[in-house]
C-alpha cells in the first residue's frame, strides 16, 4: 500500500494528511490533552479511512509515518518534567536566575518591554537554591585550565543532589564548548559512582554535547530543556511506536523537528521537537512554492489565539531564526525562522485610557468569543466578524458550532461602541481593522528583519481557521498583493511534515578570525582550523548515517559557516560548496559572499571590510531527500455556478453595508473566478475577497486572491 502519513498535534485539533498513489487526503480529530496518543491514533485512523482502508492496513505497509508532536511544549508549560540537578562553575550559579537581566521580557509581547516597573522573571526550570551546585573549576576562553577540577568536590556535590532526589544531572561548565575536559570528567565520575549495571543510574547531560556553542546562559537552557523534556517525550513516542509496531509498522517513526527536517526517534533531540508544527508548515509552504515557482513566500496561520508566520526567501532551503526563544527561554537551536504574536479570532477587544486595544489577551476556546454562548462577555475578533457579516452564525465550522449574533453585538456594544461613542457596526469594523493592522504590520517588520527586504514581492499563504477571512485585511498592511488559499489549509502542518527531508544538523561553535581588522590578508591557518572542525562533525554525521542504515551515497552534505565582521554579534549563515575550505582563496570567496549577503540585508553603505571577519560557528546539514508531493490536478469546471446565497457585509465604513454574494468552495470547480467583494465559504473557514481583489480557483483547487489595483 506504501502510503505516507503525516500527523500534527495542535492546541485544539490534531490533523492528519495521507498520501497514497497520488491521492492526498486530510482528516482532523480533537486533541486529547490527557493522552496525546489517543488523538494521534484517531486522526490517523480517519485519514486512513479517507484513503479507504483501516489504519492497521495502512500502517503495516506504510512507507513512512511522520509525527509533529507538542508533547514537549506541554511538558514545558505545565512544568511536568523530572527533577534535575545542575552542576556549574563556581561563581556562576546564578546564571539562570539573572537571565541576562532580560528574561523578564523574553518571549513576551512588545508592550511588556516598555513596562520594566512590572517586570517578572520566570522561575528557572532548575531552582537555584537547592538543585544548583557549584564546582570549583575554570577554563578560559582559549581552552586553558585556570582552575583544575576538584574530583572529591564533584563526588560530594553529586551526592548532595542525589540526596535531594534528582532524576538526572545537567552539567554546564564555562567554556566547555572549547575544552570539554572538565565536563567529560564530571560524567565519568558520576558513572563511577552510579554504574550502569545498577538500578537508579541517572542520565547525565553535558552542555558541550547538546550545544557546543559560546554563551553559557543559552547553552544552559538548551541543555536543561533537552533533559527536562526527555522522559515525557520518550515515554510518549515509545508508547505510540509500540502500538504502531503491533499494527505491523516496522519502519522508523519519524519526528518533525524545528530545525527543518525529520529524523527517526533514535536520532532526535527532544529540544528539537519544540515548535516543529509551525516549522512543518513552513516546509509545506516551501513545497507548494516550489511547485508554483514562487521564490518569496509568507506562510500565515491565524487561529483562535495566535497568528503564526514563517517565510521563504529567494527560494533558499532554510532561513534560521536569530537567537530563538522557546516559551520564556532563550536557546541555541538552529530553528527555522517563524514567529507568533497574540492575535487570533479569540483576541479580546477592550478600552483602556480611552484607547481601543485588540489582543494579545484571548478568550481561547473557553469561554471563547461572546457569540459562542459559553459565558464570554468580552468582544473578540470573531464577534466582530459575525457582527460585520463575514461569518455566517449558522455555518461556522460547517455548521458544527451555532453562533449567537446577538451576543456578539451586545459584547461589542457595551465594551467598545458605547465607551468610544460609536455605533456597534463602527466598533466592530474598527476591531477587525485594528487586528488586521497589527498582524499585517508585524508581518512586515518580521519579514523585513529576516529577509532584508519589504514584503511587496512576497505571496502570502493563508491557513488556519481565521486566516482566509482576514488575509486580505492583513495583506494590505503587509504590502502583500497575492494570497494563496491551499485546499488543505485546515491541516497544513500535517501536510508540511510530508514535505520535509530527512535532516540531521551538526554544529560546533568556534571563533576563528579569518581576517584581522585593518588587514586585507586572509589567514590560511584559519582554513585549517575550520577543516578540523568540519572533519569532527563529519565523524559524528557518518556514524549516525551508518546507525540509521542509510546509504551514504544517497545523502547530501551541506556546509554552512556562521560569519560576522570582527567583534560583531550579528551573524549571517554563508553556505560553502563542498566540505573543505581551501586556504586563503576559499576564505576570500567566503568573505565576498558574506559581504554581499550583508549588503543585501542592511544596505551597501553598511559593509565594513576593514573590520576583518570571523567565523563563529560551523554547521553541517546531512540531508536525505524525501519523495516530493505532487498536487492532484482536477478538470476545469464548465461554468461558474450561481452563488449559494448572499448576505450583507460591512466591508468599508464609507460605503456602508453591501449585499455580497456567497459561494461554497466545494461547489466551485477549477477555473472559477470572480471579483470582490465576495465570500467563499469552506467547511472550516471563509475566504473574504474585498473590493479591488479577485478570487480564482486553479487546477489544483488552490485558491488565489489577488489585488487588482
Amino acid at each position: 500500500m506504501n502510503a505516507r502519513l503525516g500527523l500534527d498535534i495542535g492546541g485544539t485539533f490534531t490533523d492528519a494528511v495521507g498520501v497514497l498513489n497520488g491521492n492526498l487526503v486530510w482528516a482532523k480529530a480533537e486533541t486529547t490533552h490527557h493522552d496525546l496518543k489517543d488523538c494521534f491514533m484517531e486522526a490517523a485512523a480517519r485519514a486512513a479511512g479517507r484513503l479507504g482502508a483501516d489504519l492497521a492496513d495502512v500502517a503495516s505497509d506504510a512507507e513512512a509515518l511522520i509525527y509533529s508532536t507538542t508533547v514537549g511544549t506541554n511538558t514545558l508549560i505545565e512544568r511536568t518534567g523530572p527533577k534535575l540537578g545542575l552542576l556549574t562553575t563556581m561563581g556562576f550559579e546564578d546564571t539562570l536566575k539573572v537571565g541576562r537581566s532580560r528574561s523578564w521580557a523574553d518571549g513576551m509581547p512588545l508592550e511588556v518591554r516598555f513596562a520594566k516597573g512590572r517586570a517578572r522573571k520566570p522561575e528557572p526550570l532548575i531552582p537555584r537554591d537547592e538543585f544548583t551546585v557549584s564546582l570549583r573549576e575554570r577554563i578560559d576562553s582559549r581552552g586553558q585550565v585556570l582552575i583544575p577540577l576538584d574530583e572529591d568536590e564533584v563526588r560530594g556535590q553529586v551526592q548532595r543532589l542525589v540526596d535531594l532526589g534528582v532524576r538526572g544531572f545537567v552539567v554546564v561548565l564555562l567554556n566547555s564548548f572549547i575544552n570539554p575536559e572538565h565536563e567529560n570528567r564530571v560524567r565519568d565520575l558520576i558513572h563511577e559512582e552510579y554504574p550502569e549495571v545498577y538500578l537508579g543510574r541517572m542520565p547525565v547531560f553535558l552542555s558541550h554535547e547538546v550545544s557546543p556553542q559560546m554563551g553559557e546562559y543559552r547553552r544552559s537552557l538548551t541543555t536543561i530543556i533537552d533533559a527536562y523534556l526527555r522522559v515525557n517525550t520518550e515515554e510518549h513516542i515509545l508508547d505510540i511506536g509500540n502500538d504502531l509496531l503491533d499494527m505491523g509498522y516496522h519502519k522508523p517513526l519519524f519526528l518533525a523537528k524545528c530545525t527543518g527536517g525529520i529524523s527517526s526517534v533514535s536520532r532526535t533531540r527532544p529540544v528539537h521537537l519544540l515548535g516543529s508544527g509551525p516549522v512543518a508548515g513552513v516546509f509545506g509552504a516551501r513545497a507548494l512554492a516550489e511547485a508554483y515557482g514562487l521564490r518569496n513566500v509568507l506562510l500565515t496561520d491565524m487561529g483562535g489565539t495566535s497568528f503564526d508566520a514563517g517565510l521563504i526567501v529567494e527560494a533558499r532551503d532554510r532561513l534560521y531564526e536569530s537567537d530563538p526563544v522557546f516559551d520564556r527561554w532563550r536557546v541555541q537551536v538552529p530553528v527555522i525562522a517563524h514567529w507568533s504574536i497574540g492575535a487570533g479570532g479569540g483576541s479580546i477587544a477592550y478600552i483602556e485610557d480611552r484607547r481601543l486595544h485588540v489582543g494579545p489577551r484571548s478568550a481561547r476556546s473557553r469561554p471563547g468569543p461572546a457569540c459562542y454562548g459559553r459565558g464570554g462577555t468580552e468582544p473578540t475578533v470573531t464577534d466582530a466578524d459575525v457582527v460585520l457579516g463575514y461569518i455566517d452564525p449558522d455555518y461556522f465550522l460547517g455548521g458544527r458550532i451555532k453562533l449567537d449574533a446577538a451576543l456578539a453585538a451586545e459584547a461589542v456594544r457595551t465594551q467598545v461602541a458605547e465607551p468610544l461613542g460609536m455605533t456597534v457596526d463602527e466598533a466592530a469594523w474598527h476591531i477587525r481593522h485594528q487586528i488586521d493592522g497589527i498582524m499585517g504590520q508585524e508581518l512586515y517588520m518580521r519579514t523585513a528583519l529576516n529577509s532584508g527586504s519589504d514584503p511587496r514581492e512576497f505571496t502570502a499563504f493563508a491557513v488556519g481557521g481565521a486566516g482566509p477571512v482576514h488575509a486580505a485585511g492583513y495583506a494590505e498592511f503587509a504590502d502583500v498583493r497575492r494570497i494563496a488559499l491551499p485546499p488543505f489549509a485546515g491541516a497544513f502542518g500535517a501536510f508540511g511534515t510530508l514535505s520535509m527531508d530527512l535532516v540531521q544538523t551538526y554544529e560546533k561553535g568556534r571563533k576563528v578570525v579569518i581576517r584581522m581588522p585593518g588587514s586585507t590578508e586572509f589567514d590560511p591557518a584559519a582554513a585549517e582550523v575550520l577543516n578540523g572542525e568540519v572533519a569532527e562533525l563529519l565523524v559524528s554525521a557518518r556514524r549516525d548515517i551508518a546507525e540509521e542504515g542509510l546509504d551514504p551515497d544517497a545523502v547530501s552534505f551541506v556546509l554552512e559557516l556562521q560569519m560576522s565582521y570582527g567583534m560583531q554579534r550579528q551573524t549571517l549563515d554563508i553556505p560553502h560548496p563542498g566540505l573543505h575550505v581551501d586556504g586563503a582563496a576559499d576564505l576570500s570567496t567566503l568573505f565576498d559572499r558574506f559581504q554581499n549577503a550583508y549588503a543585501d540585508s542592511f544596505g551597501e553603505g553598511s559593509t565594513s571590510p576593514e573590520s576583518g571577519a570571523e567565523v563563529r560557528l560551523v554547521r553541517l546539514n546531512v540531508i536525505g531527500a524525501s519523495e516530493k508531493l505532487t498536487l492532484p490536478s482536477f478538470e476545469a469546471a464548465p461554468a461558474l455556478p450561481p452563488p449559494t446565497g448572499s448576505r450583507r457585509v460591512l466591508w468599508e465604513l464609507e460605503r456602508g453595508w453591501e449585499e455580497t454574494p456567497v459561494y461554497r468552495l466545494d461547489e466551485l470547480g477549477p477555473g472559477a473566478a470572480m471579483e470582490g467583494p465576495v465570500l467563499i465559504e469552506a467547511e472550516d473557514s471563509v475566504g473574504a475577497a474585498p473590493r479591488g481583489w479577485s478570487f480564482r480557483l486553479d487546477e489544483h483547487r488552490m485558491g488565489w486572491m489577488e489585488k487588482q489595483t
Binding site: 561563581g91 539573572v98 520594566k116 576562553s141 554563551g215 485594528q434 508585524e442 528583519l449 581588522p517
Partner: protein
C-alpha cells in the same frame, strides 16, 4: 483661590525655566526648553486625517519601524554598549519633536530633538549648510542638547518630493570620545574642554553616505577608530532603514497624514497624561537626595525636589540645589534633568501611555541655575547624569506617594537602582583586538520593591526600558580581562522591607591574560541614591573595590580559590592582597595580570515595614543567601531554627510586638525631632562645594527644607 503653584517662591537672581548659559556657536538653549512646536503647515494639513482608532494602527506601524531599526542597529553594531541595548531609535515630527521611541534609553530619544530644531532654525536656509534629502547630521555637545560627550546622536531628515515629513534619529553611548580619559569619563575634568570632542549639529554626510573627511576626522579623534567607524556606519544604515519605512507609509497614507499623524500622537499622549493627572490627588510633595562627590574629590551636594500637582498639570521644582563648582564633571544641564525624568515617567508613572514628548506637555520644569543641576557653560559635564538621576529618584519616591491613593497603584514602587560602578576598560583582548568600552554589568541593577511584591534581581540598566547583561563566555572572548565570578553575590545587599528590593548583579573580574587599563564610572560610593519607600530600607551604597598584588592566580592554580562573593571579599578579605575601596570616579590606571576588581550597579530599596514581611519569605531569603541570619533575627525579628529554617510564628509575633513597643518608646514629638535634626551638621570639609548649610541658596536658613524661606 491661590493655586498651589503660586505658593512657590523662586529665588531672585537665579534662573528656573531655562538654562543657566546662553546661546553659542551651534547651540541655542532657548530652542531646547521649548515645548512641542506649533503645528507646521504639513502637520496642520494632516492633523485630522486619521481617526482616533486609525491613529492606534498608525502608532503601531511607527512602533514596528523604530523596533525594526533598534534590532538592525544592534545587529550591525560592534560597540558593547549598543549590543547591550543602551541606545534608542526614534521618529520625530518635521518640526523635530519626539513622536515614537523604541524600547531602549528614552532620554536619548528625548534629547535628540535639540539638533533637529537647531538645524531647522539656523542651518536649513544657510547656503553653507542647508537641509536636503540624504543629509546626515551628528552631535554630541552637551551644550547643544546632548547628555555628555560620549553620548552621540545621528539624525536624518526624511523628505518626500522635496517636503520634510519627519526625522529619523538614533542615539547611544560610544566607547570613546577622545577625552583625556579612555571611555570619556574624566573625574578630574574642571571644564568641558577636557572631555573630548564636541560637535553640535554637524552635517557629516550627504546623499545618504558619510563624508570620508568627516569619518576620518572622527575616527582620528578617538582611541577605537575601527569600532567607531563601524558604529557610525551602523547608525546611518539604521536611519536609512527608518527613512525607507517612513516613506513607504507616506506612499500609503500621504505625506500630510504621516506628518500630521506623528504630531497627533504627541497631542494624544499629552491629553491622556493630563487625564491621568486629574485622577491623582492634588498636593505639594517633596523628596531630597545628596551626592557624595563632585568628581575625583569628595564633597556633599544637595538635590531637593518638590512636585506641585494641581488638576491636569504638574510642576517639578528643583530648588535649593548646590551651586556649580567648576572642580569636577558632576554638572547636569537643564535639558538633561528634564529628559532624564522619562526613566520614571515612561516605565512607571505613565506606564501604558505612548512614550513620547507629549507626556511632558502637562509638566513644567523649574530647575534652579546656575547650579549643579542647571550648570553654566564652561564647566565639565560628563557625570551630570548623577545629578539628573538624583532628581529622577526623588521624583520616583514622590510619584509613588502620589499614585498610592489613585487608580494607578500598580505603578507604586521604590526606585530602580541608580547606584553604579561600571568599569571602563582599554586594552587588547585574546584575539588581538583593541577593545575600549564599558562592561554590561551596568545592565544588572536591582529593581526597587513594589507595593505588591519584591523587586526583581538584576533587571537591566537604570536608564533603559529593556537591556541585556550578556553572557560571560562572550565577554571572555571580547574583553581584555576575564570574569571570575558573576551573579547575585551579595548577602544583605539590598533594601529590606515588607517587600525587599531586587539585588544587583555583581561581577568579579581579573586582569588576565594581559594587563589592562581600567577606570570606572559611577556614583553612590558613600551615600546611596536608592531610597526605600514607606519605611523600606535603602539599597546600599557601592564603592568600587580593587584587590591588587593578590594571590588569586596562585589559589586558582592550586584549586583553592575561595567562593568570591561581595561578603567574602569586602568583609572577610579571603584573597590576600591590597584592598582599595575607592570612589568610582578615579583616573585610569594600568592593572597587572591577576589584579581583581569588583563592580555592580546597585540594589533596589525596600517597600514597607520590615516587621510586616512574611516570616516564610524571610526564610526564603536566608535559604537563597540573600540575607544573613543576623538580619533575619535583628532586622526582620524572626525567631527560627537555624538548622531547619523552621519559623516559630508565635515567638516571632511576640518579638515583633516587642519591637513595635520599643519604637514607640524611642519616638519623639515631630517638632523635637526637627529641632534635633536641624542642629546636626556634616563636617566642614564635606561642605566645601555644598553652598550655605542647610539651604545652599539661603544664608542662615534655619527651617526644614519644606518650610517658608522668609
Amino acid at each position: 483661590m491661590t493655586s498651589l503653584r503660586d505658593q512657590i517662591k523662586l529665588h531672585e537672581g537665579l534662573v528656573y525655566d531655562r538654562h543657566a548659559y546662553g546661546k553659542g556657536p551651534g547651540w541655542d538653549p532657548e530652542l531646547i526648553v521649548e515645548k512641542a512646536a506649533p503645528l507646521s503647515a504639513i502637520e496642520r494639513e494632516g492633523y485630522d486625517l486619521l481617526s482616533d482608532v486609525e491613529l492606534e494602527i498608525f502608532y503601531h506601524k511607527m512602533l514596528t519601524i523604530v523596533e525594526e531599526a533598534r534590532e538592525v542597529w544592534q545587529n550591525l553594531s560592534i560597540s558593547d554598549i549598543i549590543l547591550a541595548g543602551d541606545m534608542s531609535t526614534a521618529v520625530f515630527t518635521p518640526s523635530g519633536d519626539l513622536a515614537v521611541a523604541s524600547t531602549g534609553i528614552h532620554f536619548h530619544a528625548l534629547l535628540n530633538y535639540a539638533q533637529s530644531k537647531f538645524i531647522l532654525k539656523y542651518y536649513r536656509d544657510d547656503p553653507t549648510v542647508g537641509l536636503r534629502d540624504g543629509d546626515i547630521f551628528f552631535f554630541n555637545n552637551p551644550l547643544a542638547g546632548s547628555t555628555h560627550a560620549p553620548d552621540m546622536f545621528t539624525a536624518m531628515p526624511v523628505f518626500h518630493e522635496g517636503e520634510l515629513v519627519a526625522w529619523a534619529e538614533v542615539g547611544g553611548h560610544q566607547g570613546d570620545c577622545g577625552s583625556v580619559s579612555p571611555g570619556g569619563f574624566n573625574p578630574y575634568a574642571t571644564s568641558r574642554f577636557e572631555e573630548g570632542f564636541h560637535m553640535a549639529g554637524v552635517k557629516i554626510g550627504e546623499n545618504f553616505r558619510i563624508r570620508k573627511d568627516m569619518l576620518d576626522y572622527l575616527c582620528g579623534s578617538v582611541r577605537n577608530p575601527f569600532v567607531f567607524a563601524v558604529e557610525l556606519r551602523s547608525r546611518v544604515a539604521t536611519c536609512l532603514r527608518m527613512r525607507d519605512r517612513i516613506l513607504r507609509e507616506v506612499e500609503r497614507r500621504g505625506p500630510a497624514a504621516v506628518s500630521g499623524g506623528l504630531r497627533r500622537l504627541i497631542d494624544r499622549s499629552s491629553e491622556l497624561a493630563s487625564d491621568r493627572l486629574r485622577q491623582i490627588n492634588d498636593g505639594v510633595y517633596r523628596s531630597i537626595l545628596f551626592n557624595d562627590t563632585i568628581g575625583a574629590e569628595k564633597g556633599l551636594v544637595r538635590i531637593p525636589v518638590t512636585v506641585i500637582k494641581e488638576g491636569g498639570e504638574m510642576t517639578i521644582l528643583v530648588q535649593g540645589v548646590s551651586p556649580p563648582n567648576g572642580k569636577g564633571p558632576v554638572h547636569a544641564t537643564w535639558h538633561l534633568v528634564r529628559a532624564s525624568q522619562a526613566v520614571y515617567l515612561f516605565a512607571y508613572f505613565f506606564r501604558g501611555l505612548m512614550p513620547n514628548v507629549g507626556l511632558f506637555e502637562p509638566l513644567t520644569f523649574l530647575i534652579e541655575g546656575p547650579s549643579v543641576a542647571n550648570s553654566p557653560e564652561d564647566v565639565a559635564h560628563t557625570e551630570g547624569t548623577i545629578i539628573s538621576a538624583a532628581v529622577v529618584q526623588s521624583f520616583h519616591i514622590i510619584g509613588s506617594k502620589m499614585l498610592f491613593d489613585s487608580p494607578f497603584r500598580e505603578n507604586v514602587s521604590a526606585p530602580f537602582s541608580r547606584n553604579m560602578v561600571a568599569l571602563v576598560f582599554y586594552g587588547s583582548n585574546l584575539f588581538g583586538y583593541r577593545a575600549t568600552g564599558i562592561t554590561s554589568t551596568g545592565n544588572g541593577a536591582g529593581q526597587g520593591a513594589r507595593f505588591d511584591g519584591d523587586g526583581e534581581h538584576s533587571t537591566g540598566f537604570y536608564w533603559a526600558s529593556m537591556t541585556d547583561a550578556g553572557e560571560v563566555e562572550e565577554f571572555d572572548a571580547r574583553y581584555p580581562f576575564t570574569i571570575i565570578a558573576r551573579g547575585l553575590l551579595g548577602t544583605d545587599y539590598h533594601g529590606f522591607g515588607m517587600y525587599r528590593g531586587g539585588s544587583a548583579l555583581i561581577e568579579v573580574s581579573m586582569a588576565y591574560p594581559n594587563p589592562v587599563v581600567m577606570t570606572s564610572w559611577g556614583t553612590s560610593d558613600v551615600i546611596s541614591h536608592n531610597p526605600g519607600l514607606f519605611g523600606g530600607y535603602w539599597g546600599p551604597p557601592n564603592p568600587r573595590l580593587t584587590i591588587t598584588k593578590n594571590d588569586a592566580l596562585k589559589l586558582m592554580a592550586e584549586g583553592a580559590l575561595p567562593e568570591l562573593t561581595h561578603h567574602s571579599l569586602a568583609a572577610e578579605r579571603q584573597l590576600g592582597g591590597d584592598y582599595a575601596f575607592e570612589s568610582s570616579s578615579v583616573n585610569p590606571k594600568e592593572f597587572e595580570i591577576g589584579d581583581v576588581f569588583l563592580c555592580d550597579t546597585g540594589s533596589g530599596g525596600g517597600y514597607g515595614d520590615v516587621l510586616e514581611r512574611d516570616p516564610e519569605a524571610v526564610m526564603t531569603d536566608v535559604r537563597e543567601g540573600m540575607i544573613s541570619a543576623d538580619v533575619a533575627s535583628r532586622v526582620y525579628r524572626v525567631v527560627y531554627n537555624e538548622e531547619t529554617l523552621r519559623v516559630d510564628h508565635a515567638a516571632t509575633e511576640a518579638l515583633r510586638n516587642e519591637e513595635r513597643q520599643a519604637r514607640i518608646a524611642r519616638g519623639k514629638r515631630f517638632d523635637d525631632f526637627i529641632g534635633g535634626w536641624l542642629a546636626q551638621k556634616p563636617k566642614e570639609h564635606l561642605l566645601t562645594y555644598y553652598g550655605d548649610w542647610p539651604d545652599p541658596r539661603v544664608p542662615g536658613y534655619d527651617k526644614p527644607f519644606w518650610g517658608e524661606h522668609d
